[in-house]
Subunit: 148 residues, 3 copies
């Protein structure tokens, strides 16, 4: 890839992640699902202190099927920072993002806390399918999580 | 526009928004005003829970005339994240930014709270006049606001 | 420099700062030191309210020699936002970053507070040596610091 194509790929992937955050926090679940490859590997076992094995999910549809009801009555904010995107080819890339998130479960939420405030990093891979970059895997590691 | 011009426009608009945040939080009001088109539409009716109609202001000068005294005795921090900039032509663009802000009014401030902490999105339009991108409209929507 | 080289320099410097944050918060001290020029000027006198003269340090090795033990038992998160990078030549640049940081000292930490939460700006200069951009000077100014 030449310098222009590489820069365009980085920008496309940064936009992809921007849509990930926006559709997550505005609960646009169909749009969120479209950002993943069908065989997505979503590893959020480290997202909360309990390290539940169930937080490792394979497949974009199963991931959304778990996520959407879990967050139905939760106000969420997820912010991403300081991307380090490495374009490996015209169809494969990987990246690390710093992050901060907040969850405020409502009264009907099954989540076992009143508030979550977390900091950490996303480690992700990306694949370009039919010209469009998608998130192929996402893993969240934590620097700190505060639960109340 | 070709790919290089488009990428340059995105970068210029991201720099414009960076100056918006820095001049706002360092209270450099003349520099802040220069970032807007004269016919700016500033819609902050959703910025606080009261949804005051007065928070919709037309014109860069009237906006600064309202903002500068309101924030004279307030420490503010505004952070923007994850821009989604769409360049529509060589003179028009639009964008969405995730955001977080904090306001700490001082003792002489007329603001009716001791602290504001908010999260949301800016929806903006941009116009290029005499080769320089400016903010033509800005609207803030909220995911959550905490007042104390 | 032409537009493509300039854009590449900005991206390289943004990646440099991303590695600065990641290596700092994951305590990868050798990698962090490699991001600085040997004659680094690190001015953190304004980082905490005490304005200690000792927080101005010259040299990447002395800076790391002071920083690593100070943070050995501290969970830290540093986030950077809204870069304004000015490329002055193919070997010199400067930049401003908005920032937010959190420090949570552990029980064995000598830091004289239980928690620090701060907001401010980094003002930095960069030099390119043997084709690689490095941080040549870094100064942190504050909008607000909360200590508890």
């Amino acid at each position: 890839m030449d310098e222009i194509d590489r820069a365009a790929a980085v920008r496309d992937i940064e936009q992809l992640k921007a849509r990930y955050f926006r559709t997550m926090d505005t609960k646009d679940w169909a749009a969120l699902e479209s950002l993943f490859t069908p065989d997505l590997v979503a590893d959020f076992r480290d997202a909360t202190p309990e390290h539940q094995p169930a937080m490792l999910i394979r497949g974009a549809k199963p991931y959304l099927a778990a996520l959407a009801p879990m967050l139905a009555d939760v106000v969420t904010v997820h912010h991403g920072h300081m991307p380090e995107i490495v374009v490996e080819s015209d169809a494969a890339a990987r990246g690390v993002w710093a992050m901060e998130d907040w969850l405020w479960p409502g009264e009907t939420s099954p989540l076992p806390f009143r508030h979550l405030h977390g900091w950490g990093h996303y480690e992700e891979t990306y694949r370009r399918i039919d010209g469009i970059w998608r998130i192929a895997s996402i893993r969240l590691t934590r620097l700190r999580v505060e639960l109340s």
